[in-house]
């Protein structure tokens, strides 16, 4: 690894962290505001930042509520219960957030970056190398996603078990069985996409989603696998334990489930990881089914419309457009998850597991078999 | 490339640790986990051999070991569950009914 590679990696990591943490902070506000607008209310609008030495208050539709929440969680008393196991208690929040952040390492958030063309003064230093906009372009992309989300399960279970609280323990048990069940469904739905694109490398999967099918449809995964997309989204929402599937932290039954005994920033870390997970699930969905950073009719040089009309763009604009496209799609997905959360009623616990094992899993397997047979027929 | 013999040595030591764990610990669950450690040590050795001989068979064998480990845990855990339900204890020294 030489200096330019290292610099690019640092830039990517900084970008990914900034994006994820911003999503985590903003989504707390978006969730409240969107819920308010959905139910004819106004929503959070009280927090403000006063410019020092003036009376100018920046309210900005209450955008600073996320900041206020963070500050409150930081400054609150960190109340430590008589934990059953101090080590596991301290480890819980970390195991919950770190794998979620790491998952984003394999998600491509843009096309190919040519820093030499972007900054001509540095062209010599970079020596004409190009970099895919992905922190770790590893060929085992999807597998890594599932590997890391397996670690989050252990985080939730450790947190619940070590709190020495029966509500936490129940929440942890529920978290364990729910996450394992739905991760299985998620893996099986993704296999259809893997079959179609013939790779598990997320970067390649996104590249193969550029272009069009049948002349007008964008060649996105959702066109090939609409059924798998729905199943994946369901399983994804279940994976980040949000409302139709929020049994592990059901407020009305279990106080707040496996992190009942956590307070101050430790609880904040759990909340933050949950909000980041919304964004990560959105990013995965976008990568697998929504064509990632691709816009229809766009390639590395600009737009080429079906009529043969072309709009060439410079490399910088293409990069910016790809980044923005990805962020916009992820934001739409987050918004959709929030819509689901404020619309659907919750499952009962037995219904939740029955839904996973008796409904989603057979459907996912059927989808996989149909896809495999269709591909086999096509190739034969 | 790291030293092959060092990796092999690590694998041996881990295997020995797992073996010692199975022998000296009293808790049934801990014994199971020590067996997992032994399997892990074997996997490390296999990967090292596979790298050393530049063949895939070692890595393939690793996958078969994964499956064996999953099957093993799927059977062993219900047995431990049943034992602990009967004796309400995980202490293997209490399981002496077969001693005759």
């Amino acid at each position: 690894m030489n200096a330019p590679d290292f610099a690019i990696s640092l830039v990517y990591i900084a970008y990914a962290l900034a994006v994820l943490l911003t999503f985590g902070a903003i989504l707390t506000w978006v969730e409240r505001k969107q819920a308010a607008i959905m139910s004819d209310r106004i929503g959070a609008n009280r927090a403000y930042v006063r410019i020092p030495f003036t009376q100018v208050k920046l309210i900005w539709l209450g955008l600073f509520h996320g900041m206020a929440d963070g500050l409150k969680l930081l400054l609150k008393e960190d109340f430590k219960p008589l934990a059953y196991d101090k080590l596991a208690y301290a480890l819980g929040p970390w195991l919950a957030i770190v794998p979620v952040l790491l998952v984003f390492a394999v998600v491509p958030f843009g096309g190919t970056l040519d820093p030499g063309r972007l900054f001509p003064s540095l062209a010599e230093w970079f020596g004409g190398r190009t970099y895919p906009m992905q922190i770790a372009p590893i060929d085992a992309g999807i597998l890594i996603v599932f590997a890391f989300s397996g670690i989050t399960i252990i985080g939730a279970m450790l947190a619940g078990w070590s709190s020495a609280n029966k509500f936490s323990l129940l929440g942890a048990l529920r978290a364990g069985s729910q996450l394992i069940s739905y991760e299985l469904v998620m893996g099986l739905t993704v296999l259809g996409i893997v079959l179609i694109f013939g790779t598990v490398n997320l970067g390649t999967i996104v590249e193969r989603q550029s272009g069009t099918v049948l002349g007008f449809l964008p060649a996105w995964g959702i066109v090939y696998q609409p059924f798998a997309a729905v199943l994946f989204l369901i399983a994804g929402i279940a994976e980040n334990k949000r409302i139709p599937f929020d049994l592990p932290e059901a407020e009305s039954e279990l106080i707040s489930g496996y992190f009942t005994e956590y307070s101050a920033m430790k609880q904040g870390v759990f909340m933050l990881s949950e909000f980041i997970e919304i964004a990560v699930i959105g990013a995965l969905f976008v990568t697998l089914f929504f064509g990632g950073y691709n816009l229809p009719w766009m390639n590395d040089t600009g737009f080429v419309f079906p009529g043969g009309h072309a709009v060439p763009l410079s490399h910088g604009w293409v990069v910016v457009l790809q980044l923005l496209t990805f962020l916009g799609k992820v934001f739409l997905l987050c918004s959709f998850q929030i819509l689901v959360r404020w619309t659907l009623p919750r499952f009962r616990w037995d219904q939740l597991l029955r839904f996973a094992w008796k409904f989603l899993l057979p459907l996912a397997i059927a989808n996989l078999v149909v896809t495999a047979v269709a591909l086999w027929v096509q190739q034969a | 490339m790291a030293d092959t013999q060092l990796l092999l040595g690590l694998s041996f030591v881990l295997f020995a640790l797992g073996l010692v764990g199975v022998m000296v610990r009293r808790n049934a669950l801990v014994m199971l986990m020590c067996m997992e450690l032994m399997l892990n040590a074997v996997i490390l050795a296999l990967v090292t051999f596979s790298l050393e001989t530049a063949t895939l068979s070692g890595a393939v064998l690793v996958f078969l070991i994964f499956v064996v480990a999953a099957a093993e845990i799927a059977i062993a855990i219900p047995i431990v569950l049943l034992l602990s339900r009967q004796r309400s204890s995980l202490d293997v020294e209490g399981y002496d009914r077969l001693q005759g």
């Binding site: 969107q34 607008i37 959905m38 004819d40 209310r41 106004i42 819509l339 619309t343 659907l344 | -």
Partner: protein, 196 residues
């Protein structure tokens, strides 16, 4: 050994929802629910984007509800004499009748006004406890306290702000209805000492 468990009989309710198999399968209904909430969201969002208000609720302190009842009386005022002094003679009848005991009056002596030598040096109403029953208006012999349609600007971070004093109560927007002409009476005969 174990008592046989009673067979579970599901209770029938009078308002049991009737669902066809399609609704029972829950698939289309999920999509329909999402469409409804999403539609509401998009409509309200469109209103916000175009500068209209997309909510039924009010910004509470900044925005006064438009739909207060016609008979709502939300604020007390003290009527004034033509010279601007309060008409109140500090008889304490409103404070006595007040069910929530929110009115506090300190009486004082004013030798310069022989007709009404007793006046309130302090007249305060604690709006955090006021029940807006209007008994004080009924009890007042001098027509010195009235209630008007405005609502006091109460919300704040401090409970002390909810005490309105004499100045605030006297500082009303004079309507024709409230500014009652005070009949000018001749001054009291000299020699009669005013009661303290």
């Amino acid at each position: 050994m174990t008592t046989p468990r009673k067979p579970h009989v599901r209770r029938q309710y009078w308002n049991e929802p009737t669902m066809g198999w399609w609704e029972r399968s829950y698939l289309l209904e999920v999509a329909r629910g999402l469409a409804i909430t999403g539609g509401v969201f998009l409509r309200n969002m469109g209103k916000w984007m175009t500068g209209r208000k997309g909510a039924l609720t009010a910004y509470y302190p900044e925005e006064i509800r438009a739909d207060y009842a016609a008979g709502n009386r939300g604020k007390h005022i003290l009527t004034q004499r033509p010279d601007g002094r309060p008409q109140c003679v500090a008889c304490n009848m409103c404070a006595t009748v007040c069910p929530a005991q929110v009115i506090e009056i300190d009486a004082a002596f004013d030798p310069d006004d022989p007709a009404h030598p007793k006046y309130p040096s302090r007249f305060e109403i604690d709006y955090s406890r006021c029940v807006f029953c209007g008994f004080c208006v009924e009890a007042c012999p001098e027509d010195a306290i009235r209630m008007v349609k405005e609502t006091p600007d109460l919300p704040g971070f401090d409970r002390d702000r909810m005490w309105l004093g004499k100045e605030e109560l006297l500082n009303w927007q004079p309507h024709a209805d409230v500014a009652k002409p005070y009949p000018v009476r001749p001054a009291a005969e000299p020699g009669r000492s005013p009661d303290a």
